[in-house]
């Protein structure tokens, strides 16, 4: 038996945490699950995992690429979510943003620490791979379609800066090098691009 009620009429298959616009019942559900995870509820952890595992795994894979490393980092992310669930603070953002932030940061930190011992020429050779990948694996996903549409509303430089950083795991200085524009320009384009993306997705608050 499941130890956690996720609300009436909310059964499998797990829905995307973003199916509603903005902070809807899904955010509340995830937050409730996290609160249970914080007190060691394993059933809640399983339910939470089912809801966010695909975004986490996909995000980590985009950044680290290597399949074995992707699994390793994904596992680290969820152990961290388990460990630090009590630190989730709904006033500081949605539960999904909290989890995604842990996942993405851990992925880029891993890549950057590996990078210090090995070069990333292979990755640098195909800087647009990230955005192409998004486009190619999105079909069945409504979120993906919306994100793609909204990414399309950015200027080229904004979009490249945002996707290279997020899906490629590059620092803004590396992005500047890849695109041949000043780092200061890249940082402002990242900010402008994300603000536009946030507004287009209705993701802000």
């Amino acid at each position: 038996m499941k130890g956690v009620e996720t609300g009436p009429g909310r059964t499998s298959p797990p829905r995307s945490p973003w199916s509603g616009a903005r902070a809807g019942p899904d955010h509340a559900d995830l937050a409730a699950l996290l609160a249970r995870v914080a007190v060691g509820d394993r059933a809640a952890f399983d339910a939470m995992y089912d809801r966010v595992a695909a975004p986490v795994f996909g995000t980590v894979r985009n950044v680290v690429r290597d399949p074995g490393l992707t699994e390793e980092v994904t596992q680290e992310v969820f152990v961290e979510v388990w460990r630090a669930a009590s630190r989730f603070d709904a006033r500081k953002g949605s539960p999904m943003a909290w989890v995604a932030t842990i996942a993405h940061r851990r992925a880029v930190d891993r890549v950057r620490s590996e990078q210090r011992s090995a070069d990333r020429d292979r990755r640098a050779a195909s800087p647009m791979i990230a955005y192409d990948d998004v486009a190619e694996t999105v079909e069945d996903n409504l979120d993906r379609e919306r994100v793609r549409r909204c990414l399309g509303s950015l200027t080229d430089l904004q979009r490249e800066a945002v996707t290279l950083a997020y899906y490629g795991g590059y620092t803004y200085r590396q992005v500047a090098g890849l695109l041949g524009v000043p780092a200061g320009t890249v940082s402002t384009r990242m900010r402008d691009g994300l603000i536009r993306l946030r507004d287009c997705l209705g993701a802000g608050r």
Partner: protein
């Protein structure tokens, strides 16, 4: 290439994208600590990056979930971050299941329940069951609730309490080390006079306790002070005060 340093505020986007490397990240975080607007903006931008994560969704291999179950089973959870409050602390309280209570006390209580060494450092009044039995009783009480709070001089206290049994279990992590002539003392502060509720043993591996306090009365608050030997009432300011 000449590297120019952008204004910290313009780095909010790069920060939200984790596109700042070590020194840049630290620099932005120092700035954001003083800049509410930056923090607010990053919070909003993180919602956008979370949607980028959603768009990248790929189901992980099923085996990952099993591996994770094993991993979390041996991973201790962090206590919540709490801030000292000007008046009596108002900690969050929530009902807990038995299994979670053991976790709540970080295994220390579970260890104590079977370890004579810890009970020996407590001084249960005559006629009372052993501390380990009492700990087990509180942890398994159907009405047990957990409170956590920050100790003003450093450290985090975790309390599991049963109103029905009028007992609580107190444990702490990271308490400031004391000179040999002093100790931490728990007090029950009620409408009448303050009652000494237990002297904390010396910390072991940064963990102090668990200690059982019994005979809670309605309206009691729990206090913690640093005391020299042989005091019968608090002689120093409370470094923790909780409404029970």
């Amino acid at each position: 290439m000449r590297i120019r340093r952008p204004e910290p505020h313009t780095l909010a986007g790069a920060y939200a994208l984790d596109a700042l490397d070590g020194p840049d990240r630290a620099r932005f975080e120092r700035h954001a600590a003083r800049c509410r607007e930056c923090t607010r903006e990053v919070t909003g931008l993180r919602e956008a990056t979370a949607r980028l994560a959603a768009a990248a969704a790929v189901p992980p291999p099923a085996a990952l979930k099993d591996a994770l179950r094993a991993e979390t089973a041996r991973t201790r959870q962090l206590p919540p971050v709490t801030r000292p409050r000007p008046a009596a602390a108002r900690p969050s309280a929530r009902p807990l299941g038995v299994r979670r209570l053991a976790l709540a006390l970080g295994g220390a209580a579970a260890v104590a329940a079977v370890t004579v060494g810890v009970t020996a450092s407590l001084v249960p009044p005559a006629g009372r069951p052993s501390a380990s039995q009492e700990i087990a009783k509180v942890l398994t009480a159907p009405d047990a609730v957990k409170l956590t709070a920050q100790v003003r001089t450093g450290g985090t206290a975790t309390i599991v309490m049963s109103h029905h049994d009028r007992m609580l279990v107190f444990a702490a992590a990271g308490l400031r080390r004391l000179p040999a002539a002093q100790h931490y003392e728990l007090w029950l502060i009620g409408p009448g006079r303050d009652r000494a509720a237990g002297r904390l043993p010396a910390p072991s591996h940064g963990m102090t306790g668990p200690v059982v306090a019994a005979d809670l009365r309605s309206g009691d608050r729990l206090g913690l002070t640093v005391e020299p030997a042989g005091t019968h009432r608090p002689t120093t300011p409370m470094i923790l005060e909780l409404t029970l």
